[in-house]
């Protein structure tokens, strides 16, 4: 019963992440879009490593591939790597203060962006500056708020 409800909350947050990650933004702000889905995945893996793991990352990544129209498996790969790293780190991440967590999130999302840039450069659309790392910085800036909101959700609905 409890499990069931928790599942729909987790699914709901990922759906919200999908919506936020394809909200239209003005041209100048396109690079400022944080990687919502990756951040939400990091939170759930950190909070509930026994429920949300590599399997979830793969399924969520597939959805993101469809949304972004990227080659199938690109987001699966990058989210799998992020989820795996978070699984290795979650005990330490939970102990960190929010600022330090945010820095770790920046590193994790930065790895995500690097994988993206590598695959894109294989296909011929390479970014010619380091601007592709900007979403990682934005994700780090927004992390404390996202963390507090998701923790509130998790406690309110007793997802465990």
């Amino acid at each position: 019963m409890n499990n069931q409800g928790g599942g729909s909350i987790i699914l709901g947050t990922f759906l919200l992440g999908y919506i936020l990650s394809q909200m239209p933004l003005p041209q100048f702000a396109e690079w400022f879009r944080p990687e919502w889905v990756a951040m939400i995945l990091i939170y759930w893996v950190m909070a509930l490593p026994e429920r949300v793991g590599l399997g979830t990352a793969a399924v969520v990544g597939l959805g993101l591939d469809l949304i972004k129209g990227s080659p199938m498996g690109l987001n699966v790969l990058s989210l799998l790597i992020i989820a795996y790293l978070t699984l290795l780190l979650y005990k330490r991440l939970r102990m960190f203060p929010l600022i330090q967590q945010a820095i770790m999130v920046m590193v994790l999302v930065g790895i995500n962006q690097l994988i993206f840039n590598w695959v894109h450069s294989l296909m011929g659309t390479r970014s010619d500056s380091l601007i592709f790392l900007l979403p990682a910085v934005m994700s780090a800036i927004l992390w404390p708020w996202l963390f507090i909101v998701l923790r509130g959700l998790r406690r309110a609905f007793r997802v465990s």
């Binding site: 919506i19 394809q22 396109e30 949304i67 972004k68 659309t125």
Partner: protein, 271 residues
């Protein structure tokens, strides 16, 4: 593989519609919340525009008839008729690496991969992926896109490449001596068989002739409003095999058996 993808895309179609809803609501609201004087103003303007356009259509029909006669005299082929479908933009690809838009017509509405996408200003791009109710079109400014163009003034042909910035196309391999200037209109040349011929693509904004470089550096600005248009046209081109009929000509009594169609529509252009 493509089939799987289009079926999987069905899952996110409602999500795409949902994301588009606020924009749609805002559109409706701005339609409702206007006062009478604005409406009458708009009405008058549209009527004037309609009158002007009608006058032009009258001219065009006379010119078309003349064109057909001249082509018959020259023994040329008929110009191909093109059907146009109206469609609406429902999303933009969130990935800034890719200039793609999402349209609300899919394979159920007979959209197909390779279809040319226009707006009122000119060519926007081509359809690259089709799902059942939505499709994805690559814009001409995407850095993986290229479109064959010609200068409207003198017919000089070139290829316009997207370079990843929204308002710029680059023309490559233009000799320093080529007759191309600022302000020239580039129209689609129809070579390559992907795009219909004669639609405006871009306007040349700068020509740099550096004696140290092998080619001139020509930049152009797309004439379609790539990041503003919401109402978009899909052009239905007749299949390529119709344009290039392959019928072997018998030579000096030697009998040549007609071969089955060898030419298929090229799939690689622009991908």
């Amino acid at each position: 593989m493509h089939q799987t993808r289009s079926y999987l895309s069905l899952l996110i179609t409602p999500l795409q519609w949902l994301v588009d809803t606020p924009a749609q609501v805002a559109d409706e609201l701005s339609d409702v919340l206007v006062d009478r004087s604005q409406l009458t103003d708009e009405n008058r303007r549209l009527r004037q525009e309609a009158l002007l356009l009608k006058q032009r259509v009258l001219q065009v029909s006379a010119l078309t008839a003349e064109n057909v006669r001249l082509r018959e005299l020259l023994n040329g082929r008929q110009r191909l008729e093109q059907d146009v479908f109206l469609t609406e933009l429902i999303g933009v690809n969130p990935d800034p690496f890719q200039h793609q838009i999402i349209l609300n017509r899919g394979s159920e509405d007979h959209a197909y991969v390779g279809q040319a996408v226009l707006d009122s200003g000119g060519i926007m791009g081509q359809v690259v992926e089709v799902s059942h109710y939505t499709s994805r079109a690559m814009l001409i400014t995407d850095s993986r896109h290229a479109i064959p163009v010609e200068v409207n003034r003198n017919g000089f042909r070139s290829i316009a490449l997207g370079n990843g910035s929204v308002n710029q196309l680059e023309l490559v391999h233009i000799p320093d001596t080529a007759d191309i200037r600022e302000g020239d209109l580039l129209v689609s040349s129809g070579l390559g068989g992907r795009f219909p011929r004669g639609y405006p693509v871009a306007k040349v904004v700068s020509v740099q002739r550096d004696p140290g470089e092998p080619f001139a550096l020509v930049k152009a600005q797309p004439s379609a409003m790539l990041n503003k248009s919401r109402h978009i046209l899909l052009v239905d081109m007749p299949p390529q095999a119709d344009v290039l009929p392959v019928t072997p000509v018998p030579v000096h009594g030697e009998k040549v058996k007609p071969k089955p169609e060898e030419f298929e529509s090229p799939e690689s252009a622009g991908e």
